[in-house]
């Protein structure tokens, strides 16, 4: 039987997996390591991919999730992994990105997971539901709540940072 190669077009897959991992554990070398490990495992178990069960990205995200869960205990996530910088020296967009990254880093594990899957890996609510074994509606509600918490975090950050307030006023 003819087999579909799940890694036929690797570039967008690498970007999506990395974005998911970075939303989960923070941008940087750890996220790069997890992404590399994910692709190594994917290459090793490429034959086990079944196109009837889902898209290649969903399969890769499943592997990435297991890699994150199986990482050493000393690789605990902290907000240090998320972008931080001296806010006074940065441009508005960069500053906004840092605020966003920091706010995501302070969210709970489950919220980070959902945001990573939806906005990092670009999975649909239905695909996330399949991955979690939950109903699509439940995932949509959970995502909505996670976004609400993220917004609250960001508003808290903006209030505490005069530089961001200034950039917001300029928009």
């Amino acid at each position: 039987m003819f087999r579909v190669d799940p890694l036929a077009n690797p570039e967008p897959l690498i970007r999506r997996v990395y974005a998911y991992v970075a939303y989960r554990i923070g941008d940087g070398p750890d996220a790069e390591d997890i992404t590399s490990e994910t692709f190594e495992r994917a290459l090793r178990y490429k034959k086990s991919y079944d196109s009837r069960k889902g898209e290649p990205v969903a399969w890769l995200i499943g592997i990435a999730r297991r890699c994150i869960e199986g990482r050493p205990a000393n690789l605990e996530i902290s907000s240090e992994h998320y972008e931080t910088a001296d806010r006074g020296e940065l441009e508005d967009d960069a500053l906004r990105r840092i605020v966003l990254s920091g706010a995501v880093g302070r969210l709970e594990e489950r919220d980070r997971e959902l945001i990573g899957l939806r906005y990092g890996a670009d999975l649909t609510a239905r695909q996330i539901a399949e991955l979690h074994g939950a109903k699509t509606n439940a995932i949509e509600v959970a995502l909505h709540r996670a976004l609400g918490r993220l917004r609250a975090q960001m508003e808290g950050d903006e209030e505490s940072s005069p530089a961001v307030r200034k950039s917001q006023a300029g928009r």
């Binding site: 190669d5 690797p10 990395y18 970075a22 941008d27 590399s36 692709f39 290459l43 976004l147």
Partner: protein, 141 residues
């Protein structure tokens, strides 16, 4: 009004999350892409070799079949098997039970006693025919 505002804010946040998605470093992207492509090439080369060998075998068989080579090969194989069987198989001493020689030199059967004759393998008394007296014709000179 409030819900519309919230929706707009939510859409803005979603767009922001997508736009500011963490990106892998170009080095990681290049390395992983090269690794994946190399693996794909290796697999393709392997399957190409297998496919080539299969196609070659099929071609040879097709060419042979077109000139009756398959029948020739089958006969040859059959004969080889027969020969091998002959060589390997152990023959005992063949004894012919019915032959001219055996009939000639077989053990002589016992003679029937006087006055008896062998009829269907058994000695039986021969009865003289009665009422028939054979006389020599008279001498006439």
């Amino acid at each position: 009004m409030r819900s519309w505002r919230r929706k707009r804010e939510s859409a803005g946040l979603e767009a922001e999350l997508r736009a500011n998605r963490p990106e892998p470093s170009p080095e990681l992207l290049y390395k992983l892409e090269a690794r994946v492509r190399e693996d794909g090439r290796r697999l393709r080369a392997g399957s190409f070799r297998i496919a080539f060998a299969g196609a070659l075998a099929a071609g040879v068989l097709g060419a042979l079949a077109s000139v009756g080579g398959l029948g020739y090969a089958a006969t040859g194989a059959g004969q080889a098997v027969e020969k091998a069987t002959r060589v390997v198989h152990k023959h005992g001493v063949t004894t012919l039970h019915k032959s001219a020689a055996r009939a000639q030199y077989s053990k002589p059967k016992a003679k029937c006693p006087k006055g008896k004759k062998r009829v269907r393998g058994k000695c039986k008394k021969v009865k003289k025919a009665r009422g028939v007296n054979f006389r020599r014709p008279p001498f006439t000179g």
